[in-house]
């Protein structure tokens, strides 16, 4: 019986140890609380093939995936409402899980329940010690969008030239600027700038679809990619002008910006030469 007892204790301890890693982590969105222990089950069910059992983006399918799956151990996330270099909020991660990532293998998991998605967020946060030592940054403020005018679009074009966005995104926004071919992400993987003119994208960006999302993208930057934050470089009104101009690069999209542009003759006034 002593032998059996020892085996029993050892077996149960081993079984329990399999369930242990840092499962007390939580995530909060609204009045929901996500639990890492539940998230782990879902992660093993749905995410592990790409992101890997250690969350390091080295799942068994990772070698065949481009772009590569996110490495959660680095706790570096593209889509945030928080300043560059800071951790995202739970809401940011929750939104990313539900939205998916356009032009990647990451689907939108909006068929999962809200609770499921938040449980996953809680579990994702167990992969990096940063979540224990740092707090998420404060979300940047997105001021109300000003009226869309030809002046706004023209000024946006001016900023597009001045800040050299075209170097990566190209003059027509096709992601074919002179630097495009040289870009790599933080894992040294080649990465392509966003192609605004790609009709198949249905005007989706990596981090959302609205003008507010676009504003947020270049104010927070896409951490882990060459896309920097411009929060310290441009003022909010300038940022909105840039948003309005960028929308005109999506020529096939029905938008207020394209209507304004068309009614003004269809051509954005040339920006002053640098």
């Amino acid at each position: 019986m002593k032998i059996i007892s020892k085996w029993a204790i050892a077996t149960l301890a081993f079984a329990a140890a399999l369930q242990l890693p840092a499962l007390a982590q939580e995530a909060h969105v609204g009045n929901l609380t996500g639990h890492a222990a539940e998230g782990k089950k879902l992660y093993r069910r749905s995410c592990v093939g790409c992101h890997g059992p250690l969350g390091d983006g080295n799942g068994e399918n990772a070698p065949w995936i481009d772009p590569k799956p996110r490495d959660f151990t680095a706790a570096t996330f593209k889509c945030r409402s928080t300043p560059t270099g800071t951790l995202p909020t739970d809401q940011d991660l929750y939104n990313s899980v539900g939205r998916g990532f356009y032009n990647s293998n990451m689907p939108h998991w909006d068929a999962l329940t809200d609770q499921n998605r938040l449980d996953l967020v809680a579990y994702i946060k167990t992969f990096s010690a940063r979540w224990k030592t740092e707090k998420p940054g404060d979300p940047i403020a997105v001021p109300p969008e000003p009226a869309i005018t030809m002046q706004s679009i023209a000024h946006g074009n001016e900023l597009f030239q001045k800040m050299e966005c075209w170097k990566c995104h190209g003059q027509q926004g096709r992601g074919d600027g002179p630097s495009a071919a040289t870009l790599t992400d933080s894992k040294d993987q080649p990465i392509r700038p966003y192609n605004f003119a790609d009709a198949s994208s249905d005007s989706r960006f990596k981090c959302g679809t609205t003008n507010q999302d676009l504003y947020r993208i270049f104010m927070t930057g896409l951490d882990g990619t060459p896309m920097p934050s411009f929060a310290d470089v441009i003022q909010p009104n300038d940022a909105w002008d840039l948003v309005h101009f960028l929308r005109t690069l999506q020529k096939n999209r029905h938008s207020k910006e394209n209507e304004v542009l068309r009614s003004a003759g269809g051509t954005v006034p040339s920006a002053p030469a640098n």
């Binding site: 998916g100 068929a111 198949s200």
Partner: protein, 459 residues
């Protein structure tokens, strides 16, 4: 047998069998606690790199994400769905076959040699049919499926073959499918866990009263036609309506005399809604109906049937719910069925005098409760109780319970190997069904039993 001397103490002598028991217990504990990653319905896993458990509660039952993927036309909607993004070597093909050992038993079988009823039991190794399934997208928002299938010792037939135009008018509420396809029942008989001869189908989906001549094989059969369907973005709300040739899915419209010779059109409709219950999961409820007509006789030419005649109506309507309590989910279904009096009595419609006195259209009610407990994506238990009870016999002279079915099934599936390129399930199942008054000699209930142990694998 000579006893083997032992030097062990009496206490230790008991250890071997206890150790074996304990070893098995330990394996079981590890099995249910070591939640290993599981992977791959191979054709789609190869394309998207997602584990099979992402789409399946336990393969092949779809979860909410899998249902959404299917409703989207096998697309994830991330602009990587068109085959142009795949390596040219990629072929979206899955093979599925199930070698197994099974026991089949039926009591009260009238045996010719003795002219008496007795229980008949057969056992042996066997092989299921072979599915060679290819499905995916032809282009963004154009999806397809072709499933040549072969039953045991059968020739190949097309289990399904369809093309679907997805997201018409850029809305998920408009999708058009054309060809031979599974009826859009959320509780799918094509994707459930039981495989045995007795438990490998839902009786409600296939039921016909004894002696009924309705050529409609049941809503569990794939049908030929066109389907308009739609769904909300997360596929919680769904609808479909299909116009179908009344041929029970058998092709050959111009082949004179084939049982599948087209005769009429049927309509199937289904609507369902899902809603989240905090802490439990997505609950689903739905309504469905199938109304159609089936011929009661054929015009013949030289004795060969050439055109169906005397079509009479039939219907199947019902409601269902799918209830989730975290890792436990329970499917419930109710169905009411009825056939025209001529179909029920197998009498041509041009011969009303042939109907027995007091004849009526047969009708029945049925339903099932089926539960699944998912220990982890690699181990799932299932149990089902199902009944179909006649409410009106076609011929009043028949016993009131003639054709009634009462059945139950229990089983489990364990997926020890589920790589991203292939999957293997160990399948164990017991099923039993009692049919009312079906024994020929004694006119009493008969019971069929199946035990099945097999390996269900796909690549």
């Amino acid at each position: 047998m000579k006893a083997v001397p032992t030097r062990h103490t009496p206490e230790i002598q008991t250890a071997p069998w206890k150790s074996i028991c304990f070893f098995l217990l330990s394996v079981f504990v590890l099995l249910i606690t070591a939640n290993q990653p599981s992977h791959a319905i191979p054709a789609f896993a190869r394309k998207y790199g997602l584990p099979c458990s992402a789409c399946h509660i336990g393969w092949p039952i779809l979860n909410t994400f899998g249902q959404q993927f299917r409703d989207n036309g096998y697309q994830l909607g991330n602009d990587r769905d068109s085959p142009i993004y795949q390596n040219p070597a990629y072929w979206p093909i899955t093979f599925r076959v199930t070698p197994n050992w099974h026991v089949e038993s039926q009591n009260k079988v009238l045996v010719d040699q003795t002219q008496a009823e007795q229980t008949v039991t057969t056992t042996g190794f066997d092989l299921s049919g072979l599915d060679i399934w290819t499905a995916g997208t032809l282009y963004k928002n154009i999806s397809f499926s072709v499933l040549p299938s072969m039953g045991e010792g059968d020739t190949f037939h097309f289990e399904n073959a369809w093309v679907r135009f997805d997201n018409l008018l850029k809305t998920p509420w408009m999708n058009l499918k054309f060809g031979k396809f599974e009826l859009d029942m959320l509780l799918s008989q094509k994707r459930f866990l039981t495989l045995s001869n007795v438990g490998g189908f839902w009786y409600n989906y296939q039921f016909l009263p004894p002696g009924d001549s309705n050529g409609f094989g049941g809503i569990g059969d794939n049908q030929l036609g066109v389907e308009l369907s739609g769904h909300s973005k997360n596929s919680y709300a769904r609808y479909s309506i299909a116009l179908l040739s009344s041929v029970d899915g058998n092709p050959g419209l111009t082949s004179a005399g084939q049982p599948g010779t087209a005769r009429n059109y049927d309509v199937f409709a289904n609507v369902n809604e899902g809603f989240q219950v905090k802490g439990l999961g997505v609950q689903r409820v739905g309504l469905y109906g199938y109304v159609g007509q089936s011929p009661t006789y054929f015009l013949t030419s030289g004795g060969t049937p050439v055109q169906a005649q005397g079509a009479k109506s039939f219907s199947r309507v019902g409601a269902y719910g799918w209830w989730f309590f975290k890792d436990l989910d329970i499917e419930t279904l109710y169905m009411h069925g009825q056939d025209n009096v001529f179909l029920g009595n197998n009498i041509p419609a041009n011969n009303p005098a042939g109907l027995p006195p007091g004849a009526a259209g047969p009708s029945w009610n049925g339903g099932f409760v089926e539960a699944h407990y998912t220990v982890n994506p690699q181990l799932i238990f299932t149990g089902r109780y199902e009944l179909v009870h006649m409410s009106r016999q076609a011929n009043p002279a028949n016993p009131s319970n003639l054709g009634n079915v009462d059945s139950f099934t229990v089983g489990y599936r364990w997926y020890p190997i589920m790589l991203s390129r292939a999957g293997l399930a160990f399948h164990n199942e017991y099923s039993q069904a009692k049919t009312g008054n079906s024994s020929i000699l004694t006119m009493s209930d008969q019971t069929n039993r199946s035990v099945m142990v097999g390996f269900d694998f796909d690549y």
